[in-house]
C-alpha cells in the first residue's frame, strides 16, 4: 500500500516537473512575442539604429546578423563536412583519432567568451584587421565547427551499410563512394543539422563582442562594391549583430527607449530562430518523404 502511494506521489511530481518545463517555455515565448510585437513594424526593421535619441531601428543589425551567419556557414560547412567525412570514413581507431576526437570535444565545450578572446588575439590583433565581419565569422567557425563535424559524422553513420558495400562491391573506389553514395544519402540529415546550427550561430553574441565589434559604420545599401568602406557587403568592416545590439544597449546604451528596442529586437531574434527550427523540420521531413517514399 505504502509503495503504491509513493508511486502515485512520484508520478505526480514528474508530471509537475514536465508541466514546469513546458510553462517556462510558453511563458518565455509569450512574453517576448507579446512585448516584442508592439514595437516591430516595417519602420523598425528599416531604420538605422540611433546612439542617443529614441526611435532607432535595427536595419543594419539585422542585415549584419544574416551576413555574418552567411559568411560563417560559407566557411564552416565545407570544413565541417570534410571533418565529418574524415571521422566517419577515414579515421582508424587509434591514437590520432583519439586526439582529433578530444580536440572536437574541447572545441565543442569551450565557452563562447573564450572563443571570442581567441578571436580577439588571432583575427583582430595578430592579423591587424581590427574588428571585422571576417574575424567574427572565423571566430564563429571555431564555435560551430564541432557541431557540423558531429552532425556530418552521425549522418554518414546512419546511411545503411548495404549502400556503401554495394558501391564498393561494384569496384567504385572509397572516395567516389563517399562522393556519389554516402554524401547524397546523408544530405537531408546534414542539412537539418546545419540549419539548427545556423540558428545557434544567429543568436550568438559573446564570441562576436571582441571580434566583429560593437559598432557599424554608416552603410549605403546601393553600394554593392564589396571593397568599398561603406558597402554593406564589405567583409573588412566592423558589424554589430542583433544579439550584440540587445546586449550593448542594455548594458552601456544611452538611448531612452531601451526597452522598446530590445523587446522588438528580442522578438525578431526569437522569431528568426523559430523560423530556422521550423525550416529544418520541414525540409527534413520533405526530403525524408521524397527519399524514402513514405507518407
Amino acid at each position: 500500500m505504502n509503495a503504491k502511494v509513493a508511486d502515485r506521489v512520484a508520478t505526480g511530481v514528474f508530471i509537475v516537473i514536465a508541466f514546469i518545463i513546458v510553462s517556462v517555455l510558453i511563458g518565455l515565448f509569450s512574453f517576448i512575442l507579446y512585448h516584442g510585437f508592439q514595437h516591430v513594424s516595417l519602420k523598425f526593421l528599416t531604420t538605422p539604429s540611433s546612439n542617443m535619441s529614441a526611435g532607432g531601428g535595427i536595419r543594419d543589425q539585422l542585415f549584419n546578423s544574416f551576413y555574418v551567419l552567411f559568411i560563417t556557414m560559407l566557411i564552416t560547412v565545407p570544413l565541417g563536412v570534410g571533418g565529418g567525412v574524415y571521422m566517419a570514413e577515414y579515421a582508424r581507431p587509434g591514437r590520432i583519432t583519439n586526439i582529433i576526437r578530444s580536440c572536437i570535444e574541447v572545441l565543442a565545450s569551450l565557452p563562447s567568451i573564450v572563443i571570442g578572446l581567441f578571436g580577439l588575439l588571432m583575427f583582430v590583433t595578430l592579423t591587424g584587421w581590427g574588428y571585422t565581419i571576417l574575424g567574427g565569422a572565423l571566430a564563429l567557425t571555431v564555435f560551430n565547427l564541432p557541431v557540423m563535424v558531429r552532425v556530418t559524422e552521425d549522418a554518414i553513420h546512419s546511411v545503411p551499410r548495404d549502400l556503401k558495400e554495394a558501391s564498393l562491391a561494384l569496384g567504385i573506389t572509397h572516395w567516389h563512394t563517399i562522393k556519389t553514395i554516402l554524401l547524397p544519402s546523408a544530405f537531408p540529415t546534414i542539412l537539418t543539422g546545419g540549419i539548427l546550427a545556423a540558428g545557434r550561430v544567429f543568436g550568438e553574441a559573446a564570441a562576436l563582442l571582441f571580434t566583429a565589434g560593437l559598432s557599424t559604420p554608416r552603410l549605403d545599401y546601393t553600394d554593392w562594391n564589396p571593397f568599398s568602406q561603406i558597402s554593406p557587403l564589405n567583409i573588412f568592416r566592423p558589424a554589430e549583430t542583433l544579439a550584440v545590439h540587445i546586449w550593448s544597449i542594455n548594458t552601456q546604451g544611452l538611448i531612452p527607449d531601451v526597452d522598446a528596442v530590445s523587446n522588438g529586437s528580442a522578438a525578431v531574434l526569437i522569431l528568426s530562430v523559430l523560423l530556422f527550427n521550423l525550416l529544418a523540420r520541414w525540409i527534413g521531413s520533405l526530403i525524408h518523404k521524397k527519399v524514402t517514399a513514405t507518407k
Partner: protein
C-alpha cells in the same frame, strides 16, 4: 589520311592494354588521393584550432604573472580587485572565481532535478505523448539566444526579486535562475538519451518482481544510468560556467564577495566582458583579464576530464 590513321592505329597497338588500364587507374587514384587530402586538411584544421587556442590564451594569460609580476597566489586567493590603481594595483580575483563557482553550482542544483525529472517523464511516465510535447519544447529552449535570456532576466526577474525579496534585484539569485533555465535543455537532452538507452530487460525484470514504477526508477533505472546522468549535469555546469552575457546582465557585477544569495556578485566571464573593451591592450590591467580567460579555458579542460572519468565508469 590513311597514313595518319595507320599511325594512330599503330600507337594504340603500341601502348599495351595493361599500361592503359594502369594509367586510368592512376587517374582514379588521383581523385582518391585528392579526396583524402581534403578531408585530412579538415581534420588537421580542427587539431590546429584547438592547439592554437591553448597556446595563444596560454601565453597571453601567463603574461601577467611573468611580465607584470602578479603573484599567482594573490590572483587566486586575494579578495581585493583594483587593477587600475596606479600606486598599488591589487589583483585578487577570488570574488569572481567564487561567484562563478557558486552561481554554477546553484544553477545545477535547480536544473538537475528538473532536467532529470523531465527526462524520466519523457522515457518512463509518458513515453508516447509526453515525449511528443517535451521534445520540441526542449529544442526550442536550446534555440533561445543567451542575450534574450539575459534581457528577460533583466526586465522581469530583477524587478521581481527587488520587490518581493529585497535587495537590488541584481543578485546571485537572478543569475542562478537565468542560468538554470539556460542549462535545463542540455541536462534534459543528455539525461533522456541516457534513460532511453537503458536495456528494456532492466525495467521488465523489475516489474516482474512486483516493483512499482517509482521503485523501478529509483532502485534500478537511476542507479544504472547514474554515470550518464552525472555527465549530463557536468555538461550543464560547463555551459553555466562559461556563460557570459546573460549572467552579466542580471548579476550586478560588483567586486566584492557576496554574503547572501540576494547580494550582487561578479563572475570571471562578466568581468572579462565588461572590462576587455576599456583597458589598453598589453597593459597589466588588460593582461590580468587574459589570465581570467586562461582560467576559464583550464576549467573547461577540467570539465572535459571529469566527463571522461564519468563515461569510463559507465556500466551499461
Amino acid at each position: 589520311m590513311t597514313y595518319f590513321r595507320g599511325v594512330i592505329f599503330f600507337m594504340e597497338k603500341l601502348v599495351p592494354a595493361k599500361e592503359r588500364l594502369l594509367k586510368s587507374q592512376k587517374n582514379w587514384m588521383n581523385g582518391e588521393v585528392r579526396g583524402k587530402i581534403i578531408v585530412f586538411i579538415c581534420a588537421i584544421i580542427m587539431i590546429s584550432a584547438t592547439i592554437a587556442i591553448t597556446i595563444f590564451l596560454g601565453t597571453k594569460g601567463l603574461q601577467s604573472f611573468i611580465k607584470n609580476g602578479v603573484s599567482l597566489i594573490e590572483f587566486l586567493t586575494g579578495k581585493q580587485w583594483n587593477p587600475s590603481d596606479q600606486a598599488k594595483p591589487q589583483y585578487g580575483a577570488l570574488p569572481f572565481i567564487f561567484g562563478s563557482f557558486t552561481v554554477t553550482f546553484l544553477a545545477a542544483l535547480i536544473a538537475a532535478p528538473l532536467g532529470i525529472g523531465g527526462a524520466i517523464f519523457m522515457t518512463e511516465i509518458a513515453p508516447s505523448w509526453g515525449r511528443k510535447i517535451l521534445q520540441p519544447v526542449i529544442e526550442l529552449l536550446v534555440g533561445i539566444p543567451s542575450v534574450v535570456y539575459g534581457f528577460i532576466g533583466l526586465t522581469v526577474l530583477v524587478p521581481f526579486i527587488r520587490v518581493h525579496f529585497g535587495g537590488l534585484g541584481f543578485s546571485l539569485l537572478s543569475g542562478m535562475i537565468v542560468l538554470s533555465i539556460m542549462i535545463l535543455p542540455t541536462i534534459t537532452t543528455i539525461a533522456t538519451d541516457a534513460m532511453s538507452s537503458l536495456p528494456k530487460t532492466l525495467r521488465e525484470g523489475s516489474y516482474a518482481l512486483g516493483a512499482t514504477r517509482w521503485q523501478t526508477i529509483r532502485k534500478v533505472l537511476i542507479p544504472a544510468a547514474i554515470p550518464s546522468l552525472l555527465t549530463a549535469i557536468v555538461l550543464g555546469m560547463a555551459r553555466a560556467f562559461g556563460e557570459a552575457l546573460a549572467v552579466q546582465m542580471v548579476i550586478g557585477n560588483v567586486k566584492t564577495m557576496p554574503h547572501s544569495i540576494l547580494d550582487a556578485s561578479g563572475t570571471l566571464t562578466t568581468i572579462i566582458t565588461l572590462n576587455m573593451g576599456y583597458t589598453t591592450f598589453g597593459s597589466p590591467e588588460n593582461n590580468i583579464l587574459w589570465s581570467m580567460g586562461l582560467l576559464l579555458l583550464i576549467m573547461s579542460f577540467a570539465f572535459i576530464l571529469l566527463i571522461r572519468y564519468l563515461s569510463s565508469r559507465r556500466k551499461i
